[in-house]
Structure formats: structure tokens, C-alpha cells
């Protein structure tokens, strides 16, 4: 089963509901809007697979974990993997 883990370390700063994140490994700075910070936070606590992550994220945000929520979670995680903040192992 593919497990998702954060690819830290990061330096972060919360600004007006957004997360400013400096990623030393790539030298890039990212401005993250919800649900990206929540996804990273959940993976920091406990790396898990996509299905469990979607379930936990919906629970945290108080939304129903339907097909749309799962597909949005998968798409957002794919973006985090693409910019190097999350790894799939």
C-alpha cells in the first residue's frame, strides 16, 4: 500500500489563514491555502495512504467524505508531491 509522508523539514509561518512555507531542500517558498496546510499537518502527525488521509481530512474539515472529496484530496496531494512537499513511498 502506498504511504504518503511529508518531505520536510520545512519552516512555516501562518499569515491571514494562509501558510507560508520555506522548503530548504528545493530552496522554494510556497504560499499554501486550505486544504494544503491541513493535509501536511495530518501527514506530519501520521503518514498514511490516500484513502485514510481523505477520511481524516473530511473529518477535520467537517465535510462529508464523498467521491468528490476523495478526488479533490487526491488531486491536492498530487500537487504537493509535484512541488516536492510530500513523498509517496
Amino acid at each position: 500500500m502506498t504511504r504518503l509522508i511529508p518531505h520536510g523539514p520545512y519552516k512555516t509561518l501562518k499569515i491571514d489563514g494562509l501558510l507560508l512555507l520555506f522548503h530548504p531542500a528545493s530552496g522554494a517558498t510556497h504560499v499554501l491555502d486550505s486544504p494544503m496546510p491541513e493535509i501536511l499537518e495530518l501527514l506530519e502527525i501520521d503518514g498514511c495512504d490516500m484513502s485514510l488521509l481523505a477520511h481524516r481530512l473530511c473529518e477535520q474539515l467537517g465535510v462529508e467524505c464523498d467521491d468528490e472529496a476523495r478526488s479533490v484530496t487526491a488531486a491536492r496531494v498530487a500537487e504537493l508531491i509535484e512541488i516536492g512537499l510530500v513523498r509517496s513511498i
Binding site: 499554501l32 486550505s34 474539515l61
Partner: protein, 146 residues
């Protein structure tokens, strides 16, 4: 932020009309984000190329990336088990940006390492992807202005 402006009107209205548990503003924002794939949730700021170019002489590239312990690099630049055929132990210290630039441009070897091992390290470095340790250093070496 522009993320809010990127939402289709009908979607934003639909969310506003929906009854939300406790209806806090933050939950509304979250629901909006989770349901709106069209809106950007990431804006990335990269170091300027000029700044990166200036750091080539001082930046370093770890081979392999930290966290990949006890692996050797083979001729194709892949990480393999120690003592695998055509593979070489990793360098004892991160490679200097200026040495990597010379190796890529002129095929020179890294100080203290054989020609074959150096070629394997360079091949590994060329396969670095965004987000990997050393990528920014490698990217700045690619700058033709150097």
C-alpha cells in the same frame, strides 16, 4: 488573495446557500477549498536565477539525497544495493557546485574519485527532480549564463 477570485460564481453561491454545521467562517472557507479544484491552493516563489547563479560556487549537492542511506550509485545514475555490478560507493561529502558544473561541461572527474565513479555521480545529479536535495544547486548550474 486571488484564489478567492478564481472561483466560479455559481459554486460560491451554492456554498453560501448550504447549511453548514455551526456555520463558522473558517468551515465555509474549508468547504470552498475542498470543493473547488479550479482554484489554486499553491503559489510557489522560487529563488531568482541571478541569485541562484551567484551561489553556484558555494552550493553543494549531496549524492545521494539525505535519507537514502547505504546505497551506491550505478552507471545509469540509479541507487542500488552496495556492491551491485557497475556501481560505486557515494562520495563521502556533498559535491561542490563548481565541480559539478565542470563535470557536466567538460566531463572532468570529482577530486578524489575515479572517472567512472564521477560519471555515475553526474548521471545521478542530472536526474535530480524538483524538491530533491541539491536540485536548486543543480538548476542553477544549468543556467547558460554561468
Amino acid at each position: 488573495m486571488h484564489v478567492e477570485d478564481g472561483l466560479p460564481n455559481d459554486e460560491a453561491e451554492a456554498v453560501q446557500d448550504s447549511p453548514l454545521p455551526n456555520d463558522p467562517q473558517s468551515s465555509r472557507r474549508h468547504l470552498l477549498r475542498l470543493g473547488a479544484l479550479g482554484a489554486a491552493a499553491v503559489v510557489t516563489i522560487r529563488p531568482g536565477l541571478a541569485q541562484a547563479a551567484a551561489s553556484v560556487t558555494t552550493c553543494t549537492i549531496p549524492v545521494p539525497a539525505p535519507g537514502t542511506t547505504n546505497q551506491w550509485i550505478n552507471r545509469n545514475g540509479s541507487l542500488v544495493s552496495p556492491n551491485a555490478a557497475n556501481s560505486y560507493p557515494p562520495p563521502s561529502a556533498p559535491l561542490k557546485g563548481v565541480d559539478v558544473a565542470n563535470a557536466i561541461k567538460y566531463g572532468t572527474s570529482y577530486p578524489g574519485y575515479s572517472y567512472d565513479a564521477s560519471a555515475a555521480y553526474t548521471t545521478y545529479i542530472k536526474q535530480l527532480s524538483q524538491g530533491t536535495a541539491g536540485f536548486t544547486c543543480f538548476a542553477s548550474i544549468q543556467n547558460p549564463g554561468i
